[in-house]
């Protein structure tokens, strides 16, 4: 590997960095001001690209091809900005009173809807746009050809950075944005029209993302998978740079892009006699960078401790044990599920679906334990689901352990992972916590994805069927029922116990908790580990139920599913996650059957739930009935 080659790759990295920066900058601005974790941000990027490849040729026919390309990019960015404004005004604005993260749920629903809308409008095939007129060639550098468009891209990142800096530093709008990012009360006190500010900020952020996507027209085809893949990158860059810091985002983008370019450039290397293909690391390079940065700097490179949430919504009402009638109902539900094998003789599919609901309920409840009472929203809870599932599967297939022992192994592996990763994570707060959990989950995912000998690589492990008496549908179902019930009761007991009270105390006020002598970090760590262990049990059940396990069990998608279940059900209610898991599983199962556009339908249903029950189904129903004045 010559120095020239490395240098040249570093220049290549700058072009990629600009692309990353543009998506991230918009996300950072939106989060800084509105505190919305915008899951639809990748969708704006994707739409930008689709619109550009559609508009550029159209505009080109009116004003001439070369201009059409650039006009198409601008037009795409503007259309996306307008769409952003529309979404903020019609949807998000209704949700500022809901607990934090409900906007996340809404934007996730949007992601689903937008993806299907794009499928409907542009069809399933990738659309490759034209090359940039005037910039389609290359120039010689270090004896290699560097595409002109890469140079242009490498420059546009810093240009947008400077433009944004001027906007923020020199204009009234910019000052308002900075003020709102740093001190929300001040903006309100100054009598600023907050609604307008939010709309404009959302439009700006969306527009920049749209621009980022449109600019890729000359480099990559518009495809329906872009939204999610870009979203992950954008989060990484924003968090590494420090939420709300634009120059941090640029630096982070460079860091991530260069790390990837370096892995690519090094190719196959020999380390200590082992041959390792460094290019395989590009799969997780960004998450490795993020984990390292967050461990060393808990608020990213340029971030500051987050000021408290914009409008966190009303405080959670005090926890109460079941009253007598509610207990009866809970018992009835338990009885219904216990009787499922009998129901199965009439409706044979019922136990199949019920088993999935049990697994989902345990998964969601374990997430809720740290997310609700713990106040730590994990975006990477699937890691422990996957560790439990893989631990179990490995114990069955490679170690040939008996079923109960294999199951215990899975729980042990998950607990170990949670203890290990939790130690790092619980030191962080808010979105940084969420992102570090995500980074660890992605790292676990990539290990599972690539460690062919142990995990079966991308295909996973097969023939994980349980032994007698769990090998029949009924046997497995009943075992899963008992495990799930025990897990749910355990978590519930814990929440009310002194440990759970300490956990809730630390969530409500870390300051007060510490000053009262609660070892907050240790309490959170243990909670994280317990949640991980219970989640591992869910993973183990899953492996047995499906007879196989693949890296998808650890994917971002599953982590998001968990969040959606908890939020749909109601994060402030103890039975919320169980209701949410049931509803989500049923919904997905039935919606998937009904239409090809099931993602959009699912998204619309989630939107409806969010708008009707801004506290989740269980939370919403309880709030509807409580007398006003019960809470602030």
């Amino acid at each position: 590997m010559s120095l020239d080659a490395l240098l040249f790759q570093a220049v290549n990295g700058l072009a990629s960095a600009s692309g990353l920066f543009l998506v991230a900058a918009g996300l950072s601005i939106i989060f800084g001001v509105t505190r919305i974790v915008n899951m639809a941000h990748g969708s704006f990027y994707m739409l930008g690209l689709y619109l550009a490849v559609t508009l550029a040729p159209k505009i080109g026919t009116w004003i001439g091809g070369p201009f059409g390309f650039w006009a198409g990019i601008l037009a795409a960015a503007l259309v996306v900005a307008a769409l952003g404004a529309l979404i903020e005004m019609t949807l998000l604005r209704r949700l500022y009173g809901a607990p934090e993260l409900y906007q996340l749920l809404a934007t996730f629903a949007l992601l689903l809807v937008i993806n299907d809308a794009a499928l409907f409008l542009w069809g399933p095939e990738d659309i490759l746009g034209p090359r940039a007129p005037g910039l389609s060639g290359s120039v010689m550098l270090l004896g290699r050809r560097l595409p002109e468009y890469d140079i242009f891209l490498a420059l546009i990142g810093p240009a947008v950075l400077i433009g944004l800096h001027l906007l923020l530093a020199r204009t009234r709008f910019g000052r308002l944005i900075r003020a709102a990012t740093q001190d929300r009360e001040m903006v309100a006190a100054l009598g600023i029209n907050e609604a307008l500010l939010f709309t404009m900020v959302f439009a700006l952020g969306a527009g920049i993302a749209g621009l980022g996507g449109a600019l890729q027209m000359a480099r990559e085809p518009a495809s329906l998978t872009l939204d999610l893949s870009v979203l992950g990158d954008a989060f990484v860059v924003v968090v590494v740079g420090g939420m709300g810091s634009i120059r941090g985002a640029y630096l982070a983008a460079v860091l991530v892009a260069e790390a990837k370019a370096l892995c690519t450039a090094l190719g196959v290397v020999d380390i200590f006699g082992f041959t390792f293909n460094m290019s395989r690391l590009t799969l997780v390079a960004e998450f490795l960078v993020m984990a390292l940065v967050l461990i060393v700097r808990p608020h990213g490179l340029f971030g500051r401790p987050q000021p408290p949430a914009a409008r966190g919504g009303p405080a959670e009402p005090p926890l109460r044990p079941f009253s007598a009638p509610a207990r009866l109902l809970a018992l009835a539900a338990v009885a219904l599920f216990a009787a499922m094998p009998l129901i199965g003789t009439l409706v044979s599919y019922a136990p199949v679906l019920a088993l999935d609901m049990l697994v989902a309920a345990l998964f969601a409840a374990s997430l809720h334990f740290i997310m609700g009472p713990g106040g730590m929203a994990s975006f990477g809870h699937a890691a422990y689901f996957g560790l439990g599932a893989y631990g179990t599967a490995y114990a069955v297939t490679a170690l040939s352990l008996p079923t109960p022992l294999a199951f215990a192994t899975g729980i042990g592996v998950a607990a170990f992972g949670a203890v290990l990763f939790g130690w790092f994570c619980v030191r962080l707060e808010g979105v940084y916590f969420a992102m570090l959990t995500l980074a660890f989950a992605q790292i676990v995912w990539s290990v599972a994805f690539q460690w062919e000998e142990v995990t079966g690589g991308s295909n996973g492990l097969f023939d994980v069927w349980p032994e007698w008496p769990f090998d029949s549908r009924t046997g497995l179902y009943l075992a899963a029922f008992v495990v799930t019930l025990a897990g749910l009761l355990l978590l519930r007991r814990l929440v009310f116990a002194p440990f759970g009270m300490a956990l809730r105390a630390a969530r409500d006020s870390r300051l007060r908790a510490e000053a009262s002598g609660i070892p907050v970090a240790r309490v959170r760590w243990l909670a994280f580990a317990l949640a991980g262990a219970v989640c591992g049990a869910a993973g183990g059940l899953f492996a047995f139920a499906k007879g196989s396990i693949s890296p998808e069990a650890i994917s971002v998608g599953r982590s998001i599913d968990g969040l959606v279940m908890v939020l749909i059900g109601g994060v402030q209610s103890l039975i919320g996650p169980v209701v949410g898991a049931g509803a989500f599983t049923l919904l997905q199962d039935s919606v998937m059957r009904e239409t090809d556009y099931w993602r959009a339908l699912l998204g619309l249903i989630i939107l409806a739930v969010v708008l009707l029950f801004p506290f989740g189904i269980a939370g919403g129903l309880s709030r509807g009935l409580r007398r006003p004045g019960g809470a602030r």
Binding site: P321, L494, P498, F499, M501, A505, R512, A513, S516, G517
Partner: protein, 254 residues
């Protein structure tokens, strides 16, 4: 008799700002010590260092003769230091009673209990503390729904839960109506007397300070400029200067 709290040469910088600059003082058992000074003088910073929330750049904090500099606040809490904050901090999702129970459980080091419902633990003691702070009537209300004055009182009850030797109260009356303020300090005074408790508190209302404190220390721009009885401080020229500005001080002198 050893001082409950002894602070030596505390210094803390924020970038170019000297929040604390060589501050030393001590508190005797049972003493009600007021820390006063204009906004930005470094009072909260001082509290946060004593309390273990912040690390000083240099200097030491001793509690009952033991060097606790740099210990985390939860350890300091267990050494018998109770704390209330300038912006009251309680557990919003719990009832007032549960708040105090949580503080009691924490003080007893019993947070790693995994079975018995927490609401059944230390109920009577918690009620007693609420009674002492005049909050018994609000015991079952969620803390998030309490009036701010009540939150402050609740916080006091929680700070007392560990049976502390020393109470640190950063602006215990901030945000209260004038009438309530005197009441609050009187309550603190009464509780300290009955428990033999030392208190360090800050307060803006001079009437309240001069009416209740045993001793007063004055901070200005991070430096301790006066330390004495109420009367000594009341007549101190530098204090008057800081509070009333240059001309007023000159007039007073003349």
């Amino acid at each position: 008799m050893t001082a409950i709290l002894e602070v030596r040469e505390l210094t803390k910088h924020y970038g170019g700002v000297r929040a604390l600059d060589g501050v030393s003082f001590s508190i005797a058992p049972g003493e009600l010590l007021a820390l006063i000074g204009p906004n930005g003088a470094g009072k909260s910073t001082c509290f946060n260092i004593v309390n273990g929330q912040l690390r000083p750049d240099s200097g030491t904090v001793r509690i009952l003769g033991r060097d606790v500099t740099g210990l985390p606040s939860r350890r300091i809490a267990h050494l018998g230091v109770g704390r209330t904050f300038q912006v009251a901090a309680v557990f919003g999702s719990m009832t007032a009673l549960e708040n105090v129970q949580a503080a009691l459980i924490a003080a007893r080091g019993a947070v790693f209990g995994f079975w018995r419902p927490a609401t059944t633990i230390a109920r009577d003691e918690a009620m007693a503390l609420l009674e002492q702070t005049g909050m018994a009537g609000e015991a079952e209300r969620p803390a998030a729904a309490l009036a701010y004055g009540d939150v402050k009182r609740l916080e006091l009850a929680m700070a007392l839960a560990g049976d502390p030797k020393l109470l640190l109260m950063d602006e215990p009356t901030a945000g209260m109506a004038a009438a309530e303020r005197g009441e609050m300090i009187a309550l603190v005074q009464k509780l300290t007397r009955s428990r033999g408790l030392a208190v360090l508190f800050t307060e803006h209302s001079m009437d309240v300070v001069f009416g209740h404190a045993d001793r007063v220390i004055v901070l200005a721009r991070g430096r301790l400029i006066a330390d004495g009885t109420v009367d000594e401080v009341r007549t101190d020229l530098r204090v008057r200067e800081v509070y009333l500005g240059g001309t007023a001080a000159a007039e007073a002198a003349g």
